[in-house]
């Protein structure tokens, strides 16, 4: 009995001590923000402004286990409004170009030549053409994406929009906002849409 009391008291003391010497979450956050500012240097095309976070980045950093439903819906709605479709109305380009873009992982790194086009690096995270054995699994397999969905206007708009700004469909998605953040051009995105949807694309063979 007495032992229990002593143990409980010791535990309380330990907890109190622990609390007193642990920084609060807000303190840690402040320290982290300050540290980020002093720990990087501008290099090549990557200026220190890249450390500034927009609303999506700040919110997603803060909620590593996912946003509460209401916040997620609000964010998705706002991001949906950012999607710009090509003025020409043509959403499907050339799947061969798309395959090259999907394979290329360069672009936007501080050691990349900013005058050269970026790649989409799709294979880093997705399975696409079955011939490519070296694909990642951070995102779902997209093999047979078009074969399963067809090439209706709605599907084209969805595929284009998803690549342009995935946050519009899935808040805090791991996928970059290729159009919204200016990684890929509108035309490059149409080539990726073709890679996904064109019946002649190896993705659908």
């Amino acid at each position: 009995m007495r032992l229990d009391v002593v143990a409980a008291a010791a535990l309380c003391a330990a907890m109190l001590f622990g609390c007193a010497t642990h920084a609060s979450d807000a303190e840690a956050e402040r320290a982290a923000l300050a540290m980020m500012q002093t720990s990087f240097r501008a290099q090549g095309q990557a200026g220190l402004d890249r450390l500034d976070r927009d609303e999506v980045q700040a919110l997603c950093s803060k909620h590593p286990n996912g946003l509460p439903r209401d916040l997620a819906e609000k964010l998705e709605k706002a991001q949906l409004a950012t999607i710009r479709y090509p003025a020409s109305g043509k959403l499907m380009g050339d799947w061969r170009e798309g395959e090259r873009i999907a394979q290329s992982g360069v672009g936007k790194q501080f050691n990349d030549d900013p005058s050269r086009p970026s790649g989409g690096n799709c294979y880093a995270c997705h399975r696409l053409s079955p011939q490519e054995l070296s694909f990642g699994t951070i995102g779902p397999s997209l093999y047979r994406f078009g074969e399963q969905r067809g090439t209706s206007d709605a599907i084209r708009r969805y595929a284009y929009g998803k690549i342009y700004n995935p946050e519009a469909f899935s808040a805090c998605s791991n996928m970059p906002r290729f159009g919204h953040n200016g990684i890929l051009t509108e035309e490059q995105i149409t080539h990726l849409v073709a890679l996904l949807l064109d019946p002649d694309s190896p993705v659908n063979k």
Partner: protein
């Protein structure tokens, strides 16, 4: 040094030239080894030409040569490869990579008393057939295996 010189003199094609050079005092001791390099063989661009440059008239495929290597290499800069020959009187083991800029990677001379086995690591520019060429009792034999080279990492 004498031992090395005798080896140079024994070392097949080009030996005559080397012997002359050595006799004329054109080579300092110790340089002999550096001279003994079959430039012609390392400049070839096909399996058949490499066999010729190494002194063979042709080569027969043999099941007594085993290539141990992964079917898929995670990186082409370092592809581990072992070759073992069960052919009697194996004298040399060469490694060739069909799609490299030059076909021949290495040629190992296996004296009596040394196992007809060697492991090393080679560079592969792309997915390719890899040949193990074995010289045994004066004749040439080979085995072949395709090794796929994959793109890896974050991409940049």
């Amino acid at each position: 040094m004498d031992i090395k010189r005798r080896e140079v003199l024994k070392a097949g094609s080009g030996a005559g030239v080397l012997a002359l050079a050595a006799a004329a005092g054109l080579m300092k001791p110790g340089e002999a080894l550096a001279q003994e390099w079959n430039k012609a063989a390392f400049s070839t661009k096909s399996f058949a030409d490499t066999v010729k440059a190494l002194g063979g008239g042709g080569s027969t495929e043999s099941r007594d040569i085993q290539i141990t290597a992964p079917d898929i290499a995670e990186n082409g800069a370092v592809v581990p490869i072992s070759i073992e020959s069960r052919l009697a009187k194996t004298q040399a083991i060469a490694i060739m990579i069909e799609k490299n800029p030059n076909t021949l990677s290495a040629n190992f001379e296996i004296p009596a008393g040394t196992d007809p086995f060697v492991t090393t690591r080679v560079k592969m520019g792309e997915t390719s057939n890899v040949y193990a060429l074995v010289k045994a009792d004066g004749k040439y034999y080979h085995a072949v295996k395709e090794i796929k080279v994959t793109i890896g990492g974050c991409g940049g």
